[in-house]
Amino acid sequence: MATKFCRSLIFTGTTNGAPKATYPLKAIYEFWGYVINGTASLTTPGGFAATTPFGGGLPADFQGLFTTIAGASNGQTLPQAVIALASTTNLATSGTVYIATTTGTQTVTYTGISGNNITGCSGGTGVMSTGNIVTSPSLITFGNDGYTNQTTSFQFGGQQSFFSASQPFTTAMVGKTLVMWKAGSNSSEDGLYNIVGFVSPTQILINVNNGGTPSAPDGYKPAFSNRTSINFRVVDMGIAGATTGVTDGNFMVMQFDPTGVNAGQANSQIQLLIAGATNTRIDHKISPAGTWNGTTFSDATAQTAPNAPSSSAFFSGTSGGTTQQITLIGDKDFLIGHYRDANNAMGAAGVAFHIEIPDRLYTSAQDPNPIVVNFNGFGATTQFTSTGTTHTYGGGWVMKCNDGTARAHRCSVRALSGDGNANLSLVSAAQTPGNALNDFRAGANAFAGNLLNSPGFLTLPGVAGQYSLARVRLRKVRFANSFMPQFTRINTSSGDFILITQGVAIPWDKAVLPFTLFPF
């Protein structure tokens, strides 16, 4: 397993104002299903429950409808008024589809459906053949013959080329998102990328800084290596996120792989559910044992809303449209994300979440399947802080307790002296790494050239009969001196981390940030 990155992907939402939570949900779908858990399949994502992982009425176009040209249209040249498809299941009664022809991916609009035919069609060029791919608006094209070349020279805006010999690219893809991956790859080049330019039907330009592998000669600038047979999807995040028909209760069930973390742990699952008035939240249920049967769990916690200091909403009512930005970092055993939009509809800090399989500290018999979820709704000063005792990284760590109830656990760290009291006036600051530690003299070892940092233990106080001093140890966050500048990188024995804000650091590689993770 290897950590994959979607560094500050920017996309444009639609302005219909309806869907909100579906924007990050779509990004999670692509990142989790293909970049992290993708197989050779270009249309069936991995990393989700085996049986009916998407449901509750979630529209098919959210995933990107996939079908093919049927025999009746074989050899016909676009435009055609009627086009025969292998299936029209879940296809909207009118709209747009993308069809692969001899001249590449074509945009075709239609006004009706008749059987497996779409009617009132217009647009497009080239000859259709039986089996050519047809996708709905959110999935413009896909393929498995992508390739990249090693490029180490600086490119303005991080532009580097992505190629496909099958000529699937069009100018209309500029501004859309390229999803690329190779099954089983450990390369952080697998990722989501902004398409920033069109060169030819076989070549587009993408912003390598969204992912990339820090490589030679300096080891810090994201770049591509020589890779072939890369799977790819070109996705319109805006359309997918704005899919009509998304309603409360629509869900997807993610499955985590604890291999290498906790011996004997089941593939724990998290159900993410659209919730709240007008699609303003992502709630969750935790199934430590991973018992989703397509309809329900046998061990899950109750549906739980995000933690938030002043609101449990994940989004405001006006966040549809405008420019969206999302950062995702994950592997098969964790996923961290941050999302916001340009008009600060969720507050300047946006929203954030953190899911991981933590290190189990009890025995496998005592605590067989630990998994923790930390969803922070908007309303906090910043999401990557540790100031809360019931939310954020300080206290929003939801786990299923011994009595079956989901509760937010507090985070405990290794104090710099004693139990972290602030009475040491020569230091004059609280002595706990994280938000409270803001003295520039403490927490940094100038001689050794490193930052002292602490992992976090999850503690559950205040609930009779459920006390835990240190149930699990978080693997994917470190707490350091909040005085240090944002985006300071920290090297630990458990890998690199990057300081986000106020002493909270999340996994990173050696990439120098080409732009802020919070660009607006």
């Binding site: 760290v413 972290g420 403490a442 001689f447 503690t459 240190a470």
Partner: protein, 485 residues
């Protein structure tokens, strides 16, 4: 590695001025005779050779690093029904007698180190079996039987006659540290059996060095310093490789107050016995000393001093071996003349000396930085990242209880951290004296952290009594006999 205990020794002398030095006497004996520390040197602190303090032993080489007990020279314990607390010694070495009552019998058991090792007050004798009757300090348990010629033994003088305090070095000025050189104040240097050969200096600080207030002088009643390069007088050197900051700086400046952590019973508490428990391993990693006030009285309270080499040191190790060593204890005398403030009350919470008159129960710690100068160190508890403060961490949460997942009390190793405090005396005139260079050192040997609302001085409830909770969430491995409340 075997852990040895000195269990609940009751100090005998409670009236005269030397009672406050009993702990240093007990500690030195425990390290030398039970844990196998070797002798480097001393001044007026001769526990090493037979004489004033060491009365008798079956060890024919008591001054050597390794004892020699010829066949027949060792002791046995538990001679049967109603003689359970009898310790037989070879009559050919010494005949028990009335004069030995009140003296100290030191036993080292390899078979039952948590039951039969330790320091025991002799409360009687039995001529037919040539046995001492000892105060075994338990509630109902009997010593595991060890036949004659099983255990190392040493007979020491009563604690009433322990080394006390001397005057300072007459060749130095009042601006200098004066507990070395020609000072008559008792101190001893012992060397750990650990492969690092680190040394421990136990010093009853001189009248010229013990702080009598937060603005005068630098030292606690007894300092415990760790380092390398100690000499035959029981001293480290100024500028040497050790943790005793006043001695290293050769200064009596009050900014160094707290920089020679060690032990103190708070001074003017005439009439109060202390109950001393010590734990250490024969691997030489160090010792934890707990001195408990009966009834857990206050002013003065009890104290803790722990020192040595951490467990679980992170790699790479510092190239300077002294940087791996630590002492945490009380950094000042804590006497009633000091403003009625208390000593650390067995708490390893860290805190300054000055301006904490009402914020007591904190310890001071010292180590050596990787680049060779004294540096602060302290325990590093797991603390709430936010919303917590002194004495409000997860160990001290009122709701703390056994954990349902394990149906037991959780214990965690207690981390040790260096270089996060630039001085221990935070008076208005104080200046930073230690580098701020934070570094995780490892975990404190033999001490674990858990919930503080577990009963004080109570054993864990498992059949083997695996741990004992001392106070303030500090637990030590026990596996010993039942405990007197």
């Amino acid at each position: 590695m075997a852990i040895h205990l000195c269990r609940d020794y009751n100090t005998q002398n409670v009236t005269t001025g030397n009672r406050t030095y009993i702990y240093a006497y007990l500690l030195a004996i425990f390290m030398r005779r039970v844990l196998g520390y070797s002798y480097v040197g001393d001044t007026n602190f001769n526990i090493n050779s037979v004489g004033t303090l060491l009365i008798a032993t079956g060890d024919t080489t008591p001054t050597a690093a390794t004892p020699t007990f010829p066949p027949g020279n060792r002791a046995g314990i538990n001679l049967g029904f109603q003689k359970e607390f009898f310790v037989s010694i070879p009559a050919g070495v010494r005949t028990v007698n009335l004069n030995d009552v009140g003296r100290i019998l030191v036993l080292r058991s390899t078979s039952n180190p948590t039951f039969n090792s330790g320091i025991f007050v002799i409360v009687g004798f039995d001529i037919p079996t040539n046995s001492y009757i000892i105060d075994y300090r338990t509630l109902g348990d009997k010593p595991p039987v060890e036949p004659a010629d099983s255990m190392n033994w040493y007979l020491y003088e009563k604690d009433t006659n322990c080394p006390t305090q001397g005057v300072g070095n007459t060749l130095k000025t009042s601006a200098e540290y004066r507990g070395d050189g020609n000072s008559t104040t008792p101190r001893i240097m012992l060397q750990s059996p650990h492969s690092t050969n680190y040394q421990v200096r136990i010093c009853n600080e001189s009248t010229a060095d013990v702080a009598t207030g937060p603005t005068t002088l630098t030292c606690p009643t007894t300092s415990v310093a760790v380092g390398l390069g100690g000499n035959a007088s029981g001293d480290f050197l100024a500028g040497g490789s050790h943790s005793h900051a006043p001695q290293w700086a050769n200064s009596s400046g009050v900014q160094y107050l707290g920089g020679a952590a060690g032990m103190s019973d708070g001074g003017g508490s005439i009439g109060t016995q202390f109950r001393v428990t010590m734990i250490g391993g024969d691997d030489g990693y160090g010792v934890a000393v707990f001195a408990r006030r009966p009834g857990n009285g206050t002013q003065p309270t009890g104290f803790i001093c722990v020192f040595g080499l951490p467990f679980n040191e992170p790699l790479p190790l510092p190239s300077n071996p002294a940087a791996r060593l630590f002492t945490i204890g009380t950094g000042f005398s804590g006497s009633d003349n000091f403003g009625a403030r208390e000593i650390n009350d067995m708490g390893l919470q860290a805190g300054p000396i000055y301006s904490i008159i009402n914020a007591n129960n904190v310890s001071q710690g010292m180590s050596v930085s990787p680049f060779g100068v004294p540096v602060s160190c302290s325990a590093s508890f797991w603390a709430y990242i936010t919303g917590g403060g002194q004495n409000t961490g997860p160990q001290l949460d009122a709701s703390a209880s056994d954990t349902p997942f394990i149906s037991s009390t959780e214990l965690l190793p207690l981390d040790l951290i260096q270089g996060t405090t630039s001085g221990w005396n935070t008076g208005t005139t104080a200046i930073p004296v230690y580098p701020l260079a934070p570094r995780l050192m490892g975990t404190i040997p033999y001490v674990y952290e858990g919930r503080a609302n577990f009963g004080d001085f109570s054993p864990s409830t498992d059949p083997g009594r695996s741990f004992q909770h001392m106070r303030r969430g500090l637990f030590i491995p026990w596996n010993g006999p039942n405990i007197i409340p």
